[in-house]
Symmetry: D2
Subunit: 383 residues, 4 copies
């Protein structure tokens, strides 16, 4: 029988969006089992939510501190092997740090933390403890995104010259839209951190750029703002950026784009070809070379011509659409494998370094915008 | 905690395509738990497959007869509450009949059986025993297919006048393509039954027509054939048909359409509007009215304007693609709810009557083709 | 200076749809000049229409007979070099025959004539006089349709196995829709001939099948009908057919498909690849091979990899959409070149034989439908 | 008979791209007639080109000065009524000024001139002489672009918040690509002017933004560059901008985007809906409102629900694709009507003010880029 890696979850209780996504993803992955949880910071709600999620009542805890303490006390063959953290951003660092100190591997939703300082603190703890940290950038876990990365990495397309990425949603288009549980914390600096839309979805766009190009973003000039009056955090913004290899790009992240659902699109043009991917039709990758017909690469287990990293991320033959949950499931699958000592060749989860890079992106975008769209480096801060 | 409905599986072992689909669908559904199985008719393979699927070794049986006998002997609160049958077609009827006789509900993969006679036998047993039978027509479980059905049923579009449905795949395009385990039994009359492609995928297309229009197909004139030399069963064919309400249609079912993946597309035109759906981009439904802009209806939990039957079939906000596994999960979810006495208003599984209708379609297509494309009625046989 | 070939037009006056299309097409072609016309059978209207079309008043005639008589009397270097016939169907044959008898080349709109008998009469006259006859099947003049034909003809894709073509429009969806000038004659047997939709657009679909496959259609089983009560001619129908090379196909032609504009789509599957073209996005041809990414072939003068027959049919670099009028212009260009003695390698106009084949299609579809969907051969009638 | 407005052309001889486009557009328009030309600055080539274009040899001149002098000397009822200028950019201003001084209306290809100074000079002459000046921004002449403008102007969508426009081509992706006649002058500062790609196609993107939003762009921060080593003018760049009404946007203009053809795409999001248009599929406009299905608005004479400005720009019923040449024809049609004293309600040509605005855009983008991406105002220069 496939070994089921045991995991616990912090956050993701009643009314949450991403908690159920993580749990369903783990169910699809097939190699993980949810054994414990502190699904809410409200003890009563945590219990109710744990019950709904199928967590045994004696392992459904009222706080993350309790979870870590009680699970640590369990025998190794029973206690959770990793902890997924799906709380609002401000809890990511304290919960992850506590979990790492107690010897747990942690899988953190993006962005890594609420602030740069918290991210660096988390990094230090991870380095000291040697604990495993993964970050859930779901979009780089899609098979055709991995195919895109492979095509660029193979080198035949030449250097990346220009990138255009945008992530536009419309669900926060009005002030009233922010009344729901999902929205509330995202527009609250105390819980979301330095950024609103640029943290919530901008980091996904950023990660996608770095993932596909295989390059670090080195500079950014951004203008971000709260377009809806009264908001304290950005809900709309754009940036220009440079890549380490000389390429240039633009990035839009906005949650006030009325009518858009989850509009993450990326185009990148290399010297010999352009690559184009839209999250809302994720099983296709359009490749246009300098000559000849355009190509539509399709996901599917029967695509013998696909890169191994893409093939490892599909379950079904072409034409049987896989979506967001399956991409997310790839992350759980690979992280669980890594926890069990079988790290995949091309893990679908983002690394701690990727998470730190995402925080640098948020900080730099903020600093650039405050300074009037000035170029800001995404270099590592002084030690 | 959500009650987990216990189920057993017959078939779906090593090398199977649809078995893992069923099990992953059940995992996504969240309200089912696989507790027993006879995953292969080869006892050793059954054991190995059961182990991979996470079935406890004492409930992984070597044959469906053993499964039914042994599960029947378990206490009610422990034994499987329904049995999923995912074997080659010729085993559907005997396994389902045995299960019904033993008091189990059964969820059968399509087509219902291998022959019309077997289907009618199964129907008699189901009527006599009063056992529940569901059929897994996965495509009518997609949210936008359900939206299409609702739009037609609401009546504002008027009567259905013309339907064009096609289901084209390319995976059996050559003789060599039929060497794999998936293909072998599908091209073998002893295991597949009366039809090849018309049974395997034609019944899906047929079901989709009846599901969306809400009408029975009454007559058919078909020409089916084995396009690849040496095949004993049809791999390619087409039909014209009549609907009970006067509409006319065409249906193509072919597995030799080189380059196609899982090309199930349907267009239907009512008096006031046309509706268009493609399985390979399942979260969109195109509606073109006689005047005004075309409409693209999108799946998503945030689509307050969607029909309740469509909303009940989505898990995520628009823009987060759900696919084939999620559609299939709707079937498991609803069948498990029904088994637990909470039958949904719009169950996602097809009924026994739908399954019987599918067999009449196969029989009539076969008879029409043999008779040189003659019109054949899909009426109920004499009792 | 490019020689301007002089042409006259019969039909296409006030309120006509296809007349202005022909004239604009000729203007785009650049090698034709409209010098005379009998744009209506009503003399006053003919004069008014001729004036609007820029025809000098002394060469704007009141009837086609007058046009032929008077133009014949002009010196060769002045009189029209060919005559375009764009009247309702029942005038095609008499006008064309009169023109041929007087020594003019004729370019006839489709379908060739109203009846099979008229078509055969026209054929005899053409053979006897040796006059040139072209037929305007505009869709085979699109560059990507020509590319499709070339790809099939090159042989690498193997034999054609299945074809699915449909031509669906919604403009005659209701009885009231047929009140306009365009519709009136099309639903009138005296002017349209044997068929309604199957003649008006079914012949286009038929021609497209024969053009791309390079094969003759040999048999047909059709069911056509007047779906709108009170109509005397078919407005909706479908057929199954055989190709000379063994391929099978389905064809839908309907003008009651509410919401559809000019929905001519074709898919054909050969042994090694499928080809897919949609008239409403004509500059793309989708090719899906048995393995590897799908291909999107694009029209454009910069497509050095395109077949010469496709390249000859484009004016602009890729990405500058050319449409219906440009396809039509290819017909005028090539017919004028042929009239001037410079017949192109791949003429964009259909031949008289193609036009005759279209009439056989109409006749066979009619006969099959009347006989209850019986198979009818499209063989040449006895001489 | 429709009055034919007589026009002359300067530039557009052998090997030119845009000259034949203008002439074919005029032919489609139907209300213009080319009567004179100075198609090249090389007298011999001018004569040969004029002959090919059907210009009588006595009105085919060897230079624009000769054309203006000689045409001016002709009787009013014979001489050209307007002059189209389709030379490389550096000739626009001197030719237009000479034509205006001689009393001719002028229709100038974009960008208006090579430099800001030349543009302001031209503006002064136009004001002094009262001569008509039109600019050919072909993309705002597409019916669905006009529909977009109308939908925004109607106000129901609220204010424009964000715009994303990009114009990406790949034809100058390598140094060798610039060897052709079309490319040579575009990469030469002496003939192209201040900008390369930002002038050639950036001004189209800029114009599209201002046209659809109905707002002026007020500020820009740009980074433009020659991506291909050795180029003297920009071939790639991006900008962020502000609109007068508070909206923000991004603009990409690049001619080194390998694999792209003529990729002009715009998305704009208002408070209540987003609008999306792609030049390569120009007859569709996607509109996504905050709730309900998405809408696809289609061009066609049968679209009674379309805005009059859109309806005025179509010739054919929906489903009969019109493209680039037809959009361009709208410009010629409307400019000729205006010259004849029948100015349309919604002229399809851009105004002199629009042309001046385009030059301010080029200047500001250049200045911003040189200053390191600094915000630069597009305000009117001091008088």
């Amino acid at each position: 029988m496939v070994e089921q890696v045991r995991y616990a979850m912090i956050g993701g209780g009643e009314g949450a969006f991403i908690g159920p996504v993580h749990r369903t993803a783990a169910a699809i992955a097939g190699n993980c089992r949810l054994v414990a949880g502190a699904l809410s910071s409200d003890a009563e709600r945590a219990r109710r939510s744990g019950d709904m999620a199928g967590i045994a009542s004696d392992r459904s805890y009222g706080s993350y501190a309790e979870l870590i303490a009680r699970e640590s006390a369990l025998p190794p063959q029973i206690r959770a092997q990793f902890i997924a953290i799906v709380t609002p951003n401000h809890v990511h660092a304290p919960a992850a740090i506590a979990a790492l100190e107690a010897g747990f591997a942690v899988l953190v939703d993006k962005p890594l933390t609420d602030t740069m300082a918290a991210a660096l603190h988390l990094e230090q703890v991870a380095q000291r403890t040697g604990g495993m940290v993964g970050v859930t950038h779901s979009y780089s876990a899609y098979p055709m995104v991995r195919q895109a990365r492979a095509l660029v990495a193979q080198g035949g397309f030449g250097k990346v010259r220009r990138v255009a990425v945008r992530y536009t949603q419309g669900w926060l288009a009005t002030a009233q839209d922010a009344a729901g549980k999902q929205a509330q914390w995202r527009v609250d600096p105390a819980r979301s951190g330095l950024a609103g839309a640029f943290g919530d979805i901008g980091t996904h766009a950023f990660n996608l750029v770095e993932f596909i190009t295989g390059e670090r973003m080195t500079r950014i000039a951004a203008e971000i703002r709260a377009a809806v009056p009264g908001r304290l955090l950005d809900d709309d913004g754009a940036a220009m950026f440079h890549l380490a290899g000389g390429g240039r790009g633009t990035l839009i992240a906005s949650q006030i784009c009325a009518g858009d659902a989850n509009g993450l699109d990326i185009s990148l043009w290399c010297e010999e070809a352009g690559l184009h991917w839209r999250q809302e039709q994720p099983d296709r990758l359009r490749v246009a070379r300098r000559s000849g017909p355009e190509e539509i690469w399709r996901a599917g287990t029967d695509g013998a011509w696909l890169d191994p990293s893409a093939l490892a991320a599909v379950r079904l033959p072409a034409g049987h659409p896989e979506g967001y949950l399956e991409a997310f499931a790839n992350i759980y699958h690979d992280f669980a494998e890594a926890v069990a000592g079988r790290t995949p060749t091309h893990p679908a989860y983002a690394s701690l370094a990727d998470g730190i890079a995402g925080m640098r992106f948020i900080q730099a975008a903020h600093d650039s915008s405050v300074a009037g769209n000035k170029w800001v480096d995404l270099t590592e801060p002084e030690q």
